[in-house]
Each structure stands twice: as structure tokens, then as C-alpha cells.
């Protein structure tokens, strides 16, 4: 018997019930390592499995839930000892039956980056070890998962190191989300895309409370759905569950009409529950409902259905942007994050991410950017690169279902890109061009769209996941081509029934009043059925065009969204200030960002950048610093002034880049929050202040390896290094970092700070300076560089 045959031969598949509850009844203490019992008490395990088999389980989960190298540390056994023993115990219980044995795998017990410190790649390795050790099982189950990212690492590890069927269940709360905020649709879209064999929910709630969760899940998947609920809800003091086997079965029965095919029990259930469940299922017919799953992409927390025009923000792209290029060259991820957040606030539903630039490692930068972006924004990403290796690297680490930008009708492109789209379960943008370039006519482009669609279907990609870009040509150069694009789009939409995407901004290149042309072209395309305009959402006329189109096309019911954006109330922004004749120092002192930006731009028409920095910006910052030191203003105010100064600096930087002059840098400084420490807000405050004083800060982030600091200092010839630590437990990392810098004879001075650092400690570990706060860090830098 194997899983697929089991699924086909039976109306319902019955899983087992709780393992932990049963082991505790046998004497396992709370907080003990249940997996050690596979070796210490094999009879307990065989007995429990046998009870479940007798109660009617078609599949039993081996006692391997926490059998990973990380959790087993406590008991002294290895993964290679525990997992085969666990499967053997289950096999023994299954003798002379058709019952299957599942390799059961739960969360590692470490939160992944960016909330935790465990990397996606480390998680993959941990799971790979378990999967290899459990190769003798009949199937693999990942359960009680709350982080889709961790689950993705697990599924990839399974698919790449085993050919066993994969079942996945995540744990949802009554708010229809997991602890990490994963939504049900995101789970379903992502896992079905990754090619798992069944998907569902387990733990946290009883079968009654899980009804709405299961109902929602069934709408988003056509895979077999698994439900393994708890025996109701636990009492916090006695830990007893409130559902009897009869009630449990009664509520479970109500889940059947939703289309559930695989059932079992989680915490608090025992063989009685499984017996009642399996008796209830006897003679029942399963309900087969085929849902049409909508075209959609998602992050882990947010699904964007392509059922109406959705804006793809185009700003994360260095093409034609000097400031962006500089950010890429200097590894300035914060700049990219800033661009992302600005676009989301402006109304982007999806963000295109392109970091291709000669002279940088595009693959490494793409991975870094994707990881950082998904840590701060909820919108899904569109991964944009011409290099298949870059696409694959990004697809691996993306948490959700992304869009790939792009494939074209060339056979070479199809053969390289579409297998990746299929393997990682993405949606894909198909460009209507091939080895002969962009066809002139709409009919030809339609043919190429058709070819891409057929190839995608051959690879097993859903039709709903193919979005066609009929390609915008510049109206000033190829005026006759504009309508061809629009007509091709209309045919693709109506005749092929595909979603359409279009980069809009190109249309007006080289023309005066570009916005007017772009805006009208966008409206034309929307009317013909454009689903995914790629635009600069920060241009209000463009975003506004989409919003007003949705109103006029009766998509934005009761104009709710339109009114929410333009309905007067949001005019009174926090920055509005009655005073009109303000100067730069006033703007800085009062935290007026917009004014600061505008005034700086004006000043640059008449003054040198260095004059503005030295005569206006820095004195204003000094004044704020003095006021902070003397207790006249407080930390949030100091940072506000720094925030304005930062905005002014950004304007100056852009100006300098556009004139081709060398950047203003008063010196390079490395900042790092030491290994093991993840509290880096203090370091980030220091960074903002230092940058405001004209220093180039290389921010290595948090949880930074000692060696990384050494390598960075040598490579970039940096002679001032700042280290921060917030926890007493990570102070030793600070000491080790200092030690390694000294051992490697790095020519640098070191300043240290952070809540638990004292001047005495700084001296003791051999640091050169102690900074009690961000202001003092600036004083140290000024003294060091003599400026």
C-alpha cells in the first residue's frame, strides 16, 4: 500500500490521535524529550501505535515530531539514531496491516529570520537531515507549522531529497491566521504551488472552532484536505480538553460537506476519539468539490487576487537611477526598503524587484533584497531578472507565491524559465517577443502569447498563473505601434482568457508632459482589460487613474476606496505647519520633513553642497544635540530632527550624483550589533545620527559574525568600528569581536555602546572608546576624523 493508492481506494483516510498526551499518560514528564523514548521505551511507542491502528488509523505518525538536531541536543541521541528507531517502532505495530507509517516533522523550535536568527538555508539543512534519516517511512508529514517560510524550507528539503508523498498541516488560531500571521489562502497557494500531496490544519483548536478555517481552506485548494483538530480547547490550569470523543466526532462530521478527506486528532485526543471518528466515517461518501482557484499571488500574510486592476510598483529598479545604482554598489538595503515602503503607502499592490547592475553580484543582492523586503512589507513581490540563476535563487527564498518577470516566446527562455516557475509554484509574466524581436502587429504578438500559454500548460503551470505582457513601445519613436499593443492586449484577454500586464511609463519617453501621455495610455489599456499596470505609484496621477478607473468600472463599490483616498480628511497631515517663511534650521528643529526637502532643493540652486552641510545642517543638529544633552529635548525629538536632516542629505546626495561630483564623505564607519544579539534599535539610531553628520556608515546589521566585521574593515579600509550589545549574555561576543580585530591587526579604533555596556567594561575588553548614547558616538567620530 502507498499513500496514493490509499487515497484512491478509500472514501476517507483516518490518521492517528495525539502522541504527547499518550506519552504523558505513560509517564513522560512535561518539558521532557518525547523522541528519546523511541530508544529508551520502544514498547511504549509500539503499544500506542497499535492502539491507534486498532482504533482505525490508516496512517500512524512515527514519534519523530521534534527529532531534529537542535531539539535532540538535550537528550544526547542523534537524528540518525532516533528517526529509524521511531519508524521501526511504528512498523512493528503495523505488522500484518495495511497501515502506513509517516515520518512526522514539526517546527525546528527556532524562529527564522528576520524575527529570529535562524536562516532559511539552515532550516533547510535541519530538515534535510531528518528526511534522509527517515527514508524508510511511507510518507512525510509536516505538521503544527506556524511559519510558512520554515514550511517552505521543509518542503523543498523533502522534494529535493526524497520521493515520498508530502502532507502539510499548519496551525491556525480563531483569527484565521497562524502565530506568525500566515493567512489560509497564502498557505494554500504556496503549498499547492510547491507540489505537496495534501494540505490542511492541525492543533490549536477543536473541530468546532476549526470549521471556518477549513471552510476557507477548501475554497483555495483542490488538493486533498487534512483536518487533525485538538480535543476542543484546553483549560489553562488543568490542561484538560473540553471535547468528549462523541462531541469531537459530531463536529468532525460537519466538516465532511466542505470536502475534507483526511481526518485525525491532535492534542488531547486518544484511541477513543479515533475509534469514534472512524466508526462515523464508515459507509460515508466523501464530497468532491472542484473549486476554480482564482489567479492570485501572495506573500505569507497577504493574498492579491488578480480579479481587478492591481498596481505593480516599478521603482525597485536601477535603470536610469543614479541614486539607486549607488545604493546597490554600497550594499545599502535600507534605501531599497525605503523605496518599497514609499510605494506601498502610495498604493502599490505588488512590488517589482530588479537589482541587476553591472559590477555587482546580482544573485547575492537579489536574495538579500527579497529577504529584507519580505521582512517589512506585506505585498507580494514580482521577481525581475533576465538571468535564470538569479530567478531561481530568489524563488527559493521567497516566502509565498511570487510572480516571475519574465519569460518570452524564445525556446531558450521557455526551457530555462518555465521549469523554475513550475518547481517553485510561481506565476509568470510572458513577454510577447521571440528571437526575431517584438512583432509589429497585434496578431503576431497574440500568436506568441498563445505559444507561451501552451508551453506553460505543457509544463503543468496553471493557465491562471500566466500573465501576458504585450509590450509598450515608445509613442514618440513608434507611434503606429501603440494601438497594436492595446489591440493585442484586448485579444489576449478576451480570446485566451489570460491576465494581462503592461509596463506603462515607457509610452511617453521623449515627449513633453509625459504624465499626460502615460496617464491616457493607462486609461486606454485599462478599458481594454489591463489587469496589472506596472507604474510608478508615487505619481499620484497614475495611481489616481487606476483608482478612478475602478470607481467608473463599478469595481470599487460605492466608491469606498476612492473616497477613502481622496475624501478630504487626510489632507491635514502631521507635517502641515502654518508658518510659511521657514528656513532649514527651523525645519530641522521642528521635524518638518517635506519642508526640509524642499528648502534643501532650493538652497542647492545657489549654494555648494558642503556649505549647506557645514553651515546649516550640522549646526542645527549640534543645537539639537546640546538640547538633548541638557534635557531640554528628549530622544524621540532628537531622532525627529535627525530624520529631517536625513531627508535633506538624501536631496544633496541625489544632486551630487546628478552632477557627477564625488560624494561628500567625512569618513567611513562600520556599525554592527554583535553576534547573538538581535536588539539593534540603538545601533540604528547611532547610524542615522552619524549619517547626518556626513559619515558613510557601513551597517552590518544585527547578529553579526566576528569574522564579518574583520573582513569588512579590511576590505573597505575602514578605521573606525562601532559595536553594540543589549544583552548581558551577548557581551562576550563584543569582547570576541574586539579580540579578533586586534588579532588580525586591523588598523582601526573601536567604540562600543549599548544598554549593558559600561565604560569599565569597554576598557576591560580593549575598546578604544565608550559611547553612552548616539550623540556621544558622533562626538567620537568627529574627534577621530578631526572634522
Amino acid at each position: 500500500m502507498d499513500f496514493k493508492r490509499l487515497l484512491n481506494s478509500k472514501e476517507f483516510v483516518v490518521l492517528d490521535g495525539a502522541m504527547g498526551t499518550m506519552l504523558q499518560a505513560k509517564g513522560l514528564e512535561m518539558g521532557g524529550t518525547p523522541e528519546a523514548l523511541n530508544i529508551d521505551k520502544p514498547d511504549w511507542l509500539t503499544d500506542i501505535h497499535r492502539q491507534y491502528i486498532e482504533a482505525g488509523s490508516d496512517i500512524v505518525y512515527a514519534n519523530t515530531f521534534g527529532a531534529n538536531r537542535f531539539k535532540l541536543k538535550k537528550c544526547g541521541y542523534t537524528v540518525q539514531q532516533v528517526i529509524p528507531a521511531a519508524i521501526e517502532n511504528a512498523r512493528k505495530a503495523c505488522e500484518d496491516t495495511d497501515t502506513l507509517v509517516a515520518l512526522d516533522i514539526g517546527p525546528i523550535g527556532q524562529l527564522l529570520e528576520p524575527t529570529g536568527t535562524f536562516t532559511f538555508e539552515e532550516a533547510y539543512d535541519v530538515y534535510k537531515e531528518q528526511i534522509v534519516a527517515g527514508s524508510s517511512a511511507d510518507l512525510i508529514v509536516f505538521e503544527t507549522m506556524t511559519d510558512l517560510y520554515e514550511l517552505k524550507a521543509a518542503v523543498l528539503a523533502a522534494r529535493e531529497n526524497s520521493s515520498l508523498p508530502i502532507l502539510c498541516t499548519m496551525t491556525f488560531e480563531e483569527n484565521m491566521r497562524t502565530f506568525t500571521g500566515v493567512s489560509i489562502s497564502s498557505m494554500a497557494l504556496t503549498l499547492e504551488g510547491l507540489g505537496v500531496d495534501a494540505v490542511g490544519v492541525n492543533c490549536s483548536l477543536g473541530p468546532k472552532e476549526l470549521y471556518p478555517v477549513v471552510e476557507e481552506l477548501c475554497k483555495w485548494t483542490n488538493l486533498p484536505v487534512i483536518v487533525k483538530p485538538n480535543a476542543g480547547l484546553p483549560d489553562p490550569v488543568t490542561n484538560e480538553y473540553d471535547c468528549t470523543p462523541e462531541e469531537f466526532t459530531e463536529f468532525a462530521e460537519k466538516l465532511i460537506p466542505l470536502g475534507v478527506r483526511i481526518l485525525g486528532g491532535c492534542c488531547g485526543t486518544d484511541p477513543d476519539y479515533i475509534r469514534k471518528l472512524s466508526e462515523m466515517l464508515k459507509g460515508k461518501k466523501r464530497v468532491n468539490i472542484i473549486h476554480s482557484i482564482p489567479a492570485a499571488c501572495c506573500s505569507a500574510t497577504h493574498t492579491v487576487e488578480i480579479d481587478q486592476p492591481r498596481i505593480i510598483g516599478e521603482r525597485i529598479n536601477p535603470t536610469g537611477k543614479k541614486r539607486f545604482k549607488e545604493a546597490l554598489l554600497s550594499n545599502d538595503i535600507d534605501y531599497i526598503l525605503g523605496q518599497a515602503i514609499e510605494q506601498v503607502h502610495a498604493g502599490a499592490d505588488i512590488l517589482d524587484v530588479n537589482v541587476g547592475l553591472p559590477g555587482i553580484d546580482e544573485k547575492a543582492m537579489m536574495v538579500k533584497a527579497v529577504k529584507a523586503l519580505q521582512g517589512v512589507v506585506d505585498v507580494p513581490l514580482q521577481i525581475d531578472s533576465t538571468i535564470p540563476e538569479v530567478l531561481e535563487a530568489a524563488l527559493r527564498v521567497y516566502n509565498g507565491k511570487p510572480i516571475v518577470n519574465s519569460v518570452n516566446a524564445e525556446n531558450g527562455s521557455i526551457e530555462k524559465v518555465l521549469p523554475l516557475v513550475k518547481k517553485y509554484g510561481a506565476a509568470v509574466v510572458g513577454l510577447t517577443l521571440d528571437e526575431n524581436g517584438i512583432p509589429k502587429t497585434a496578431d503576431k504578438r497574440f500568436e506568441l502569447a498563445e505559444k507561451i500559454l501552451n508551453k506553460a500548460l505543457e509544463y503543468g503551470i496553471r493557465k491562471e498563473d500566466v500573465y501576458i505582457d504585450c509590450l509598450t513601445l515608445t509613442a514618440s519613436a513608434e507611434q503606429e505601434g501603440v494601438m497594436e499593443t492595446v489591440n493585442a492586449l484586448e485579444r489576449v484577454k478576451n480570446e485566451l482568457g489570460l491576465k494581462t500586464v503592461l509596463g506603462v511609463s515607457n509610452i511617453s519617453f521623449g515627449l513633453p508632459n509625459r504624465e499626460l501621455v502615460s496617464h491616457n495610455f493607462l486609461m486606454m489599456a485599462l478599458t481594454k482589460g489591463l489587469d496589472l499596470p506596472i507604474i510608478n505609484p508615487n505619481v499620484d496621477a497614475m495611481t489616481g487613474a487606476v483608482r478612478s478607473y475602478k470607481l467608473l468600472a463599478n469595481i470599487d463599490k460605492n466608491s469606498a476606496d476612492y473616497i477613502a483616498h481622496y475624501g478630504g480628511n487626510n489632507k491635514a497631515t502631521a507635517e502641515a505647519d502654518q508658518k510659511t517663511d521657514i528656513d532649514l534650521p527651523y525645519a530641522i528643529e521642528n521635524g518638518l520633513k517635506k519642508e526640509g526637502r524642499d528648502i534643501t532643493a532650493e538652497l542647492l540652486k545657489e549654494h555648494e553642497p558642503m556649505y549647506i552641510i557645514n553651515e546649516l545642517l550640522i549646526p542645527a543638529l549640534d543645537k539639537a544635540g546640546d538640547q538633548f544633552e541638557t534635557g531640554k529635548i528628549f530622544l524621540p525629538q532628537l531622532i525627529q530632527t535627525a530624520g529631517v536632516a536625513q531627508t535633506c542629505f538624501e536631496v544633496i546626495k541625489n544632486y551630487i550624483l546628478s552632477t557627477g561630483e564625488k560624494t561628500v564623505s567625512k569618513g567611513k564607519i562600520i556599525l554592527a550589533t554583535v553576534k547573538g544579539d538581535i536588539h539593534d534599535i540603538g545601533k540604528n539610531i547611532v547610524k542615522v545620527l552619524l549619517e547626518n553628520y556626513g559619515y558613510d556608515v557601513i551597517d552590518l546589521g544585527k547578529d553579526v559574525d566576528y569574522q564579518t566585521v574583520v573582513d569588512c574593515a579590511i576590505e573597505n579600509e575602514v578605521h573606525l568600528v562601532g559595536l553594540s550589545a543589549l544583552m548581558t549574555t551577548t557581551l562576550v561576543s563584543m569582547e570576541n569581536t574586539v579580540k579578533l580585530l586586534r588579532e588580525n591587526n586591523v588598523d582601526c579604533r573601536i567604540f562600543v555602546g549599548g544598554a549593558v555596556v559600561t565604560p569599565e567594561y569597554a576598557e576591560q575588553i580593549g575598546a578604544d572608546f565608550y559611547a553612552k548614547d548616539a550623540k556621544e558616538s558622533v562626538d567620537i567620530a568627529r574627534k577621530f576624523f578631526g572634522n
Binding site: 536568527t117 534599535i681 540604528n684
Partner: protein
């Protein structure tokens, strides 16, 4: 448990306002951030009552592999027959909001960080109250956390496992025993049938006393 408001006064103290009223502009930021935080805060907690056996060098928690080592925890639980272990978090959504603010606007990041710290304290106070209601007639100590005094922070992982906190409330610890999500607390509350003196709480029993930002300013954290 649901938080309706965050204690702004407490948060302002964390921001370093030293009892001063925040200026108008900062106040606007505080209000905005409080609103955003309340949208993402998801208070979760778990607690259980255990018997204890005092040993020379620490406290044994009955029925578990957990041993709370050190003189300070012995002192804390003196006269107690049982203790409540609890873990609480305001969940990972807060971490994400704080990250986004750090990229967008450091003022909001700092303000929100302090508001989130105040929020988790409120959740802990709430748990205190619930324990009080559940165990009527008993007396309870204040909350003592791993890392306080000489109670090593290395007990964190086993502490969480005993409460099944990773599974029940999504609370974990890194290899360096830092709680994740960040705005989370684990603590021990002593339970006694007899009244216990509460005088010990204060700077003297705090291992942060030498580096405390409040003490440097001549203030008191309220601990």
C-alpha cells in the same frame, strides 16, 4: 486578552521623557504608533502551577526537568510551596511593524519600541491578575524572570518547553536564549498560603543595577 490602549505614560518614561509631557509633535507620533500597534498586537500567554522543592543551589520544579539555579530565585520563592511559571508575548506582527518603521522613520521606530515594551508589561500585569483570580486565598510574589539576579538565562529554552510555549503561543528562544518574538516575557511567580513580605523588590535584587538607564537618571523603573 485584548489590549484596548497602551499605557502611554509608561512608554514615555521608556523614551526618556523623565516625567515631562511629550511635545505636541511627539505626542502625535505616539498616538499614531499606538493605533498601528494595537492593530498588530496579539497578546498570548500560557501559565501553569507547579510544586517546588527548594535545594541549596536553586529550585526544583516538580514533574519537569526544569531547575532554576541561583541564590536569588531561592530568596524570591522563600516561604512559597508552589510557583506559577508563565510566558507571554504580544506576537510576531509587532516585530514586523518595528522593522518596517526602522526602514521608514526612526522616530516611529523608537516610539513604537517603547510602546510595545509598555504593552507587554500590561499583558504581564493582566496575567498576574488572572493568576490571582484563579488562586483565591493564596498570596503571590512579584514576577521574577530568567536573567534576573543570578538566575541564568540559559534556563529559557527548558522553561518554554515545560509550558509548551512554542506550540501554544508561538514563543521561542534563540540559541543565545533571547526570546523571539522580541516583545515577550517569561517569569516565575511564587505562590504561598501565607502572607509574604514584598520588600525585596527593587534595585538591590536587580542585576541591571550597574547599567540601568533609569538609575543613571536618578529614576526608578518601578521594579
Amino acid at each position: 486578552m485584548k489590549l484596548e490602549r497602551i499605557n502611554q505614560q509608561e512608554a514615555a518614561r521608556y523614551m526618556g521623557f523623565r516625567g515631562n509631557k511629550p511635545d505636541k509633535k511627539t505626542q502625535a507620533v505616539i498616538d499614531e504608533c499606538e493605533k498601528a500597534l494595537l492593530d498588530v498586537i496579539n497578546p498570548k500567554f500560557v501559565y501553569r502551577l507547579f510544586g517546588i522543592i527548594p535545594r541549596d543551589n536553586g529550585i526544583e520544579i516538580l514533574g519537569t526537568p526544569l531547575f532554576l539555579g541561583g541564590k536569588d530565585i531561592c530568596e524570591h520563592l522563600k516561604g512559597c510551596s508552589r510557583c506559577v511559571l508563565f510566558a507571554a508575548t504580544i506576537s510576531a506582527g509587532v516585530d514586523k511593524l518595528l522593522r518596517a518603521y526602522e526602514a521608514e522613520d526612526m522616530t516611529k521606530a523608537v516610539v513604537s519600541d517603547c510602546l510595545a515594551s509598555a504593552a507587554i508589561e500590561q499583558v504581564c500585569d493582566g496575567v498576574d491578575e488572572i493568576v490571582k483570580e484563579k488562586l483565591t486565598g493564596c498570596y503571590q510574589t512579584w514576577r521574577f524572570s530568567p536573567g534576573y539576579g543570578d538566575l541564568p538565562i540559559s534556563v529559557q529554552r527548558t522553561f518554554l518547553d515545560v509550558l509548551n510555549a512554542p506550540k501554544l503561543i508561538g514563543l521561542n528562544a534563540t540559541e543565545n536564549n533571547i526570546l523571539t518574538p522580541r516583545k515577550s516575557v517569561t517569569a516565575v511567580i511564587g505562590i504561598s498560603e501565607h502572607e509574604i513580605s514584598k520588600g525585596r523588590r527593587g534595585c538591590a535584587s536587580c542585576n541591571m543595577r550597574n547599567v540601568c538607564q533609569f538609575r543613571k537618571r536618578g529614576e526608578h523603573c518601578g521594579f
